[in-house]
Amino acid sequence: MRPGAVACVFALMALFTGFSADQVRKQAAAPADAPSAAPLIYWSAGVETAEALKRAGIERIAAPPDKAEAWRGAGFKVVAAGQAEFDRREKLLTPRIAGRADVASATRRPWIDANGWRFARNPAGEFYYDLPQGKAAMAIAEAFAYNADAVLKIDPADLTEAGAMFAFIKNLTGENYPLVADIGVIDDKSPETGEVMNLLARRNLLFDVVAVPAPQFRVNIKLGSKEYPRVEAANPSEFAQKIRRRLGDENRSLRVYGTETVICRLTGDGARARLSLLNYSGRELGGVRLRLRGNYGRVEARAFGLARVEPEDFVNDETATEFSVPRLGIYAVIELKK
């Protein structure tokens, strides 16, 4: 079980005990097979707004300590979260396209603010979002996809959309597959290494954080080594490109075609896999093409906000499975079985 999932379990247990997630973490050891928990909405309004939350289908919240008991009395599962809680947590970026890196160039690769690399770097971390209107559902999906312990301050206008996202992830089956990665990153906790992780994630170059070079990965990165001088990381985009070339596109566990605004997380146990697709573009995408190493015979897709989405145009060759997701909103989960 990933440490990130453990963190979420702490948050879940906190709901029932009334302790903060941190207190729970200190008091309890998580069960090995516990399912991942959803992120938490921080709701600072009083209990008179309970109807709005119920209409949105939200039953669990984080609330200011002085209001927590009242919310519990109204039938909600509540984690008390004061300012100290947010001071302790790492603040995340609003997930979105932040602009175009090469705005006048023909390639026009968009710059994406995404937090997956932060979750990957610190699976036991505690995080929070402070979100503008329109971003709650995306942030919930992002945190859930990475099993992150995250509290979300949302715009009240997003309550319905947030509730819909919670309903969507509630219906996803639990999974505890190991992370699938092609690259090991030895984290020296430096900002440069963090930016390298950001750019790897951005390019769907799947990585895991390791303490020492791991033989299962084709590429292991340790900044400051002879192979990867720290000076090279001054241009993290070029550095990520160097890693990509060293790995070789043909050896990647995952390729994404037809978009440069979707970031994926892949877990799997060899026989089954789950692929989470996070679409940061803010627009519905059509015909996202995916190529996964391995020969999968059964592929099911669930896409948030859309009616049933059937993967199509399958191609299986000796090494990989390819298919298209005909429509993609902000979040989809693909379950694969061999």
Binding site: D102, S105, T107, R244, R283, L285, G287, R289, P326
Partner: protein, 380 residues
């Protein structure tokens, strides 16, 4: 029965050094399950043959209005001269049967002044229906719906003709209308998405294609005519070939045009040269760089027509005192600055690659050597 997938590997490096792109030429992985026709449409039955019909009457004196009757006459004379028939309908019948599903690849990028003109498109449709092709079997197509909406061909066409775009806009949100089984894969500048896929309309629905490009200058290719219109206009994710002053259009235009079934299905080239743009292309938002060749070219060989086009554009540029499309001086380069390029015809945003025409010739798409090109000129 499962079709066999043919994988071709085209390496750009073996070609003559005179047409080498700047830096290393990319490798292309071409994936398509389609086999070539016995006689691929390009270069088709008339390799190296170009009929060029010029009419002073086709435009008003100021060039702003098109005379439909003059265009009809140019079309009739051009098609007859190309195929050698007494009646134009017989020439059209050489290319099309009533069973065909025909795509007309227009160019709507140079709106409003230099696009495939309503009159030529309408006359093409009229001839197809005369052959017996039903309007419902005709598809006017482009990549972007927004461009087609602005040009608005519908009022010029019979009811039932389809107007189709693969994407709503040039924003890379829509890929469902591209065929995931037909693509060219290449990594030009480290882009994440390394595939360019053929439109499903082209690979799966159409049986024949008529290509109606314009006479246009192009910042990356030098000039854009038959080859680029059919290649970049039938595949996704192609703008990635030029970046920061460097363009891989030299090899990619021909590589795409040669992919089956596009190559086999594209049977007729009608170059709309009523108006042209000699700088700032492929766009023509104002009349600043628009000129008036008053010409339509006909052929089946896109390379031969485009070889002539290179001279048309370059001659016009010389006449206006602008640098040649062959100029590779980096001092002219102000990359990624479209504003400066639009102000000054001696500014390039990319080192142009007019050698893409020769490259396509070397791929077998047509005749590039002018000494081997037979031009039949008709002046009305």
């Amino acid at each position: 029965m499962k079709r066999r997938t043919f994988v071709q590997l085209l390496a750009a490096t073996p070609l003559a050094s005179t047409i080498q792109a700047k830096g290393d030429a990319p490798k292309y992985k071409v994936v398509t399950p389609y086999k070539p026709a016995a006689m691929p449409g390009m270069p088709g039955p008339y390799p190296g043959k170009v009929v060029s019909v010029k009419s002073a009457k086709c435009l008003s004196e100021d060039g702003l209005k098109i005379d439909g009757e003059a265009v009809s006459e140019m079309m009739e004379r051009g098609m007859r001269a190309l195929a050698g028939d007494a009646k134009a309908i017989d020439s059209w019948r050489r290319f099309f049967t009533p069973d065909d599903v025909v795509g007309i690849k227009v160019n709507a990028g140079g709106r409003p002044w230099v696009v495939s003109s309503h009159e030529i498109v309408a006359e093409t449709v009229r001839n197809l229906t005369a052959v017996g092709v039903k309007p419902q079997q005709i598809y006017i197509y482009e990549r972007f719906q927004g461009q087609l909406d602005q040009v608005n061909y519908a009022p010029s066409l019979p009811e039932g003709v389809n107007i189709f775009a693969a994407e709503r806009a040039n924003a890379r949100n829509d890929n469902q209308n591209y065929d995931p089984r037909v693509y060219v894969e290449a990594d030009f500048f480290g882009e994440d998405d390394t595939r360019s896929n053929m439109m499903r309309l082209v690979s799966q629905k159409l049986t024949k294609i008529i290509n109606i490009p314009n006479m246009k200058d192009h910042g990356a290719t030098g000039a854009t005519g038959c080859l680029k219109n059919i290649a970049y206009g039938s595949f996704s994710n192609v703008a990635r070939t030029h970046n920061r002053g460097v363009s891989h259009t030299l090899s990619f235009v021909g590589a795409l045009a040669a992919v089956e079934p596009l190559r086999s299905k594209t049977v007729l080239q009608i170059m709309d040269g009523l108006r042209g743009v000699w700088h700032g292309g492929p766009f023509a938002p104002t009349l600043k760089y628009v000129f008036f060749p008053r010409t339509i070219m006909f052929g089946t060989d896109p390379v031969a027509i485009d070889r002539l086009l290179l001279d048309v554009i370059d001659d016009e540029r010389k006449r206006r005192g602008a640098i040649s499309i062959w100029n590779r001086d980096e001092k002219t380069l102000d990359f990624n600055n479209g504003g400066d390029r639009d102000k000054d015809p001696n500014v390039n945003i990319i080192i142009r690659e007019p050698g893409h025409v020769e490259y396509a010739g070397n791929l077998g798409l047509g005749i590039h050597d002018k000494r081997e090109i037979e031009v039949k000129e008709i002046e009305l």
